[in-house]
Amino acid sequence: MLPPPDFDLICLGSGPAGQKAAIQAAKAGFHAAIIEREAQVGGACLLSGTIPSKALREQALRYLRTRSDAGALEIALRGDAPLSALLQGVDAVIASQDRYLKSQVARNQVELIRGKGVLLDAQRVEVQRLDGTRAVLHAPRIILATGSRPRHVPAIAVDHEHIVDSDSILSLSYMPRSMTVLGSGVIACEYASIFAALGCQVTLVDKALEPLGFLEPELRAGFAVALQALGGRYCGGVEVERACFDGFSQVEVTAKDGTSFKSDIVLAAFGRVANLEGIGLDRLDLRISARGYVEVNPRFETNIPGLYAAGDAIGPPALACAAADQGRRAALAAFGLPPPADTSLVPTGVYTIPEIACVGLSPSEAARRRIPILVGRADFREVARAHIAGAPAGFLTLVCDRSTCRVLGVQVLGEGATDLVHLGQAAIAASAPAEFFVEQIFNFPTMTEAYRIAAFDVLKQRGEANLSALKL
């Protein structure tokens, strides 16, 4: 017989999913614990992924602005410029986020336990502490929120010296002169544009014909043009066979067709893989998908009663915002509490230079599902604020229902896109029509003007009889 439980809920991992799951449980009056192997709370999102890479991106943008402001002056980063100098301030950001998250956890009386959690069965976790001591904790509900790490493939041996991944690239001691980025997904494209902006000669190589294949063609094309403008290039349709240090000064990437690419360093960015090793899954008959993710039902419950999973451990979309929402829902489901209103509205943010964001229905998806739509477009060159900010490249498209003009989707490419998309998301959630953006009074000059321009475009296409009655 099992002893009385130590907690009502244990979360393995303190990333967005685990952290929000535990806090949700605590807010519902339950005693929750988080087991975390790192000293900081926040998981890869805070330590090696989302936050640090965005800090580096910010530095790249500053560098670009300085170069552009300097006009005739020739400004270039020193070849031996330490990357740590560019990442200056990121430690402070991590520390402040860590402090905030820890205080939030403590305020909600969630117990934070440092150590490696290993499942003994569906209700017991052995915690291995850094000092070597072990303790067994019992809870009738466990949420696996162990996150993910960079995916490695057998043909490309990541040595963290010549061939790095998205973790070790952030501790690179110098700015490489050239870099081959393997992959065409979000991480590959984000780092490709960041390093290209910093003056590194970047070649993005992948078997996909275009980068960021999951996005609309116009967004993909916009990214490709921007990368080229930064001095980078995309080589699609290339199946990489191997990558190895040539033993002298370059890493050579060889494709199946014999093409080769040489650069100072190679970034292997093949997406991410769930952290499921060493957590005792061999003792459980847990169902894992062919892609290596924990399989869950819509309530985030695994095939083992009482065992839930959320975040990167269950696979795409693998976004911090989605993980946090999944964590909350998993906790509510674990206690049999009603879930919040369902929303399929998860925005996608790609932190390339410039940013890309989208939410809701895309024109391609509408065509596939035969949904009649109108697409309004705003070019940032028409937006005063974009010129003031010195970032007139970009656009916003508004996807609306053809008959009602209800807003169904938004796609944005340009600086500030990841923030700008949220207004469109709110309109979609509120079932607002395109007229909403014309009738409301927004601050001027702001990037929000792009919504008004796109909305007018939609209304014009509908042949709005009474356009003159609207604010112009």
């Binding site: 192997r37 090696s48 740590s84 000092d131 070597g132 010296e161 070790s168 501790s171």
Partner: protein, 275 residues
């Protein structure tokens, strides 16, 4: 304070005020840096440069033939060795050889200088392993650990010169205390003269007080590498149990089973170190 003590302090302080005379970047390192910064590195030029220094050429041949490098066949020529090791490794070896030959030299205190050198070199190799295990890039870790005893070596070298000028050996305990006292200042001086990155300078001078360093993670890595180097050289001074229980590993987030994995690379490190 005795007269000898006052004079010794003054001698060290004078040395600190003239860094260029004290520790200029060795010519070969400067030329190597210049050569390897070029867009296309010419192997022939690199070999030619290496050939001008017998000690460097010898060390490159030794490392290229070490079991850890797993050469497919014995490396018999310098050109072959340079090609096999690559630019970055040759640069690392050059810094190491120059440090060994020009900084870790203290006539009358050869054994101490050699022990410091061995500690630095082994720590550099261990730091690479620690970084790799933690999925961090290895170069800063290697350089910071390699440089972590340069301050002590330089202080030792200056004090040896002081002894020669005074014509008398100093009290051993006093000599040791002065070396310790001036280690951070000389370390900082040399690394700043050599224009090393700020995080490397901080970590290599503040590794003893790593939690207080602005680069605590890198300084902690150097501290852990130092402990591993000490254990590798003198297991009786620091046995495996005490080593693995050191709080620095907790600080770095290395769990007990991962520490054992790390320690399991001892033979590989020793092979690279030429033991």
């Amino acid at each position: 304070m005795s007269r000898e003590s006052i004079l010794a302090h003054q001698f060290l302080r004078d040395a600190l005020s003239s860094p260029q005379r004290l520790a200029p970047l060795p010519r070969i390192c400067a030329e190597l840096a210049q050569l390897t910064a070029q867009e296309v590195v010419d192997a022939a030029q690199l070999v030619h440069l290496v050939e001008t220094d017998v000690a460097l050429a010898g060390e490159i041949m030794r490392v290229a033939n070490s079991p850890a490098m797993r050469p497919r066949a014995p490396v018999v020529s310098l050109r072959q060795a340079v090609s096999w090791l690559g630019v970055a490794e040759v640069r690392n070896i050059a810094v190491a050889v120059m440090l060994h030959g020009e900084v870790f030299v203290a006539p009358g205190h050869e054994a101490q200088a050699e022990a410091l050198w061995r500690e630095a070199w082994l720590a550099g190799l261990w730091a690479k392993e620690i970084a790799r295990q933690r999925r961090k890039h290895v170069e800063s870790a290697f350089l910071a650990a390699l440089m972590h005893r340069t301050g002590a070596a330089l202080a030792l070298k200056i004090l040896a010169r002081f002894e020669r000028e005074q014509g008398a050996a100093m009290d051993t305990a006093f000599f040791g205390a002065l070396t310790m006292e001036f280690e951070p200042a000389f370390g900082r001086l040399l690394m700043s003269a050599w224009n090393l990155p700020a995080d490397v300078q901080d970590a290599a001078t503040e590794w003893r007080q790593y939690p207080r360093s602005p680069h605590a993670d890198l300084a902690g890595t150097v501290n852990a590498a130092h402990l591993l180097a000490t254990h590798t050289q003198n297991p009786e001074l620091l046995d495996a149990t005490h080593l693995l229980e050191d709080p620095v590993f907790e600080r770095l987030g290395v769990f007990p089973d991962e520490r054992l994995t790390l320690l399991g690379r001892r033979d590989q490190v020793l092979s690279l170190a030429g033991a």
